[in-house]
């Protein structure tokens, strides 16, 4: 990459990036810094501390880190991310993409289209659908399984939101992986098959090395999205008794329901820090992948 290959000129390059920087700066970075500041105060939604918030230093952080509820929230979030994003969406998404490529084009388009539907529907809409599905009395699932009176959302809250999130998010992984699989030359797979490689060998030796970048990007994005996902709140509201209170729901509970905006902001910042660790690991892995200078994949589709 040259310093100025397109002949942009420093001024023009700045002008190009300026609108994006201003918008992100004003509407993302500035409010985020504001949140950091709020996290250091005892700011509240109502009462005396709403008018004159006091600076309390790291008290909110200390309180959060020693709060058993924060600990259990974090653990539930880890389960949620590992269960629904990493084990659920990523694996299932790959399986569907892998299977779909062997299908005839119209069947394949139909399958992909149907899976994508669950992803593009508004969160509020799908939450209603799932509540109707899992409802104790009139719920469709109970009618289908012939288990009347089973309160899925109360008896198995984490399982419910994990399955819900797998259902909702698999489409993204599927799309990304089907795009990635297009870059694996069929001739390589054919060669491996003729050489007698099992499906597992084909996947591990031929496919995986080629789509490693996609796998990493996918895992990063879906982990972050799942980590910050608030939609489960619409299903279980964190309950019963906090048994499905993942971190975003916990923030909502203390900041807006409890009115402790300062404490909520502190926890939000902790979430951001955890996200940052994810991103750093990802960048490290990506760099490790790029370290040996490999030639651009020949025979790929689209922009290489």
């Amino acid at each position: 990459m040259g310093t100025d290959a397109a002949g942009l000129g420093r001024g023009r390059a700045m002008a190009f990036i300026l609108p994006a920087l201003v918008l992100i700066g004003v509407f993302l970075v500035f409010p985020a810094l504001w949140t950091v500041y709020l996290g250091l105060t005892d700011y509240r939604l109502t009462g005396l501390a709403a008018a004159e918030p006091r600076f309390v230093g790291l008290d909110n952080y200390a309180a959060a880190l020693t709060d058993a509820r924060f600990g259990s929230s974090l653990w539930l979030t880890v389960q949620f991310v590992l269960g629904s994003a990493v084990a659920g969406q990523a694996v299932l998404g790959f399986a569907v993409a892998w299977v779909a490529r062997g299908l005839r084009t119209p069947v394949r388009r139909a399958v992909e289209g149907l899976v994508l539907l669950s992803w593009i529907l508004p969160g509020s809409v799908v939450a209603f659908l799932w509540i109707a599905l899992l409802d104790r009395d009139g719920g469709t699932l109970n009618a289908l399984l012939n288990t009347p009176g089973t309160a899925w959302l109360l008896d198995h809250p984490m399982l419910s939101i994990i399955v819900f999130n797998i259902w909702r998010g698999t489409a993204f992984s599927m799309m990304l992986y089907s795009a990635a699989l297009e870059n694996v030359p069929p001739s390589h797979l054919e060669t491996a098959r003729l050489a007698g490689a099992s499906t597992a060998c084909q996947l591990g030796d031929v496919v995986l090395p080629r789509i490693k970048g996609h796998v990493l990007t996918n895992l990063l994005l879906i982990s972050l999205w799942t980590f910050n996902d608030f939609t489960p709140f619409l299903l279980t509201a964190g309950g019963p008794e906090g048994r499905s209170e993942i971190l975003p729901v916990y923030v909502y509970a203390i900041a807006l329901n409890g009115g402790r905006l300062g404490a909520g902001a502190a926890v939000s910042f902790l979430i951001l820090l955890i996200n940052l660790v994810f991103a750093l690991i990802y960048l490290r892995l990506l760099r490790a992948r790029n370290a040996p200078p490999t030639a651009a994949a020949p025979g790929g589709r689209g922009p290489v």
């Binding site: 992100i24 509407f27 994508l116 659908l129 970048g213 940052l276």
Partner: protein, 279 residues
């Protein structure tokens, strides 16, 4: 081989049916007559389909207006985000400047900020901006466009970077040698080549803007005419008994524009995602 193929077909079809089921249920409930929706006998079909719920939804409470508002916000976000992200992506891939890496890392980090955490500062921010610049303050659709635009940018730029980098610089140089001016190179050469990427990012911006509930609830407080669709759904929730027919009909109506937008670009989307990740 034949059995493997049969198994593959079965897996794919089962997956499709399972994912499709709740959506089928939504459309079905929207068509069922009022008495049948909550009856204890759950039937996956109806013998007496009715459009009464749709008529009620479309007839009452400004629904058409909300639909139009949602459409305007989402389309404005898609168009502006494509433009701004394209320019920014060109700048970060085609030009090395100080802090370039810092800026890129900032884009990535900005994408991880939990939206809920920013709602309160954003409320005050939008309120204050509104007093200085009319049209983007509280209760305006402009505020929604601006905030969604900002939230869509990090992902869009991150995606577009891969696409712009994938276009050989020699192509642009050749066009310049042939006498094309820089704007022409940008719009006639580079822009069409990265179009698949713009479509992929456009789908994301459209979906987030269309589905947004939090910002619409926070910024649009009193101007009922500027409310968007997700809020319109709330009308059908009642303390004593929810109007499930209305909810399902409104949800179905809310899904249709996304579906149209999506079907129109689906084919390009997959190609777009594939290109974005490659370095």
């Amino acid at each position: 081989m034949k059995r493997a193929r049969l198994a593959a077909n079965t897996v794919a079809i089962v997956a499709a049916v399972v994912t499709f089921f709740p959506i089928y249920w939504m459309a079905l409930s929207a068509l069922k007559p009022a008495g049948e929706i909550q009856s204890l006998q759950v039937r996956p079909w109806t013998l007496a389909p009715t459009l009464e719920h749709f008529e009620r939804v479309l007839g009452g409470e400004n629904f058409a207006r909300y639909l139009l508002n949602s459409l305007m916000v989402a389309l404005a976000v898609v168009a502006l985000s494509a433009l701004v992200a394209f320019l920014a992506a060109v700048a970060v891939t085609r030009f090395t400047f100080r802090f370039r890496t810092t800026v890129l890392i900032m884009f990535l980090v900005a994408q991880m900020v939990p939206v809920e955490a920013l709602t309160i500062p954003l409320f005050f921010l939008v309120r204050d901006i509104g007093t200085a610049v009319p049209g983007v303050g509280l209760n305006t659709l402009g505020s929604l466009v601006l905030v969604h635009l900002a939230f869509s940018l990090p992902f869009a730029i991150w995606m577009m970077r891969g696409f712009v980098a994938a276009v050989p610089e020699a192509l642009e140089e050749a066009a310049m040698i042939d006498g094309a001016s820089r704007p022409v190179v940008l719009w006639r050469i580079l822009f069409p080549l990265v179009a698949p990427g713009l479509i992929a990012t456009g789908v994301f911006s459209f979906i987030t803007a269309w589905n947004d509930f939090i910002f619409a609830r926070t910024f649009i407080i009193s101007a009922k005419d500027n409310q968007t669709l997700p809020a319109a759904l709330l009308v059908f929730f009642k303390p004593d008994e929810n109007d499930w027919g209305g909810i399902m009909a409104a949800s179905t109506l809310m899904t249709i524009p996304v579906l149209i937008f999506f079907v129109a670009v689906q084919r390009r989307l997959v190609a777009g995602l594939g290109g974005a990740v490659k370095d």
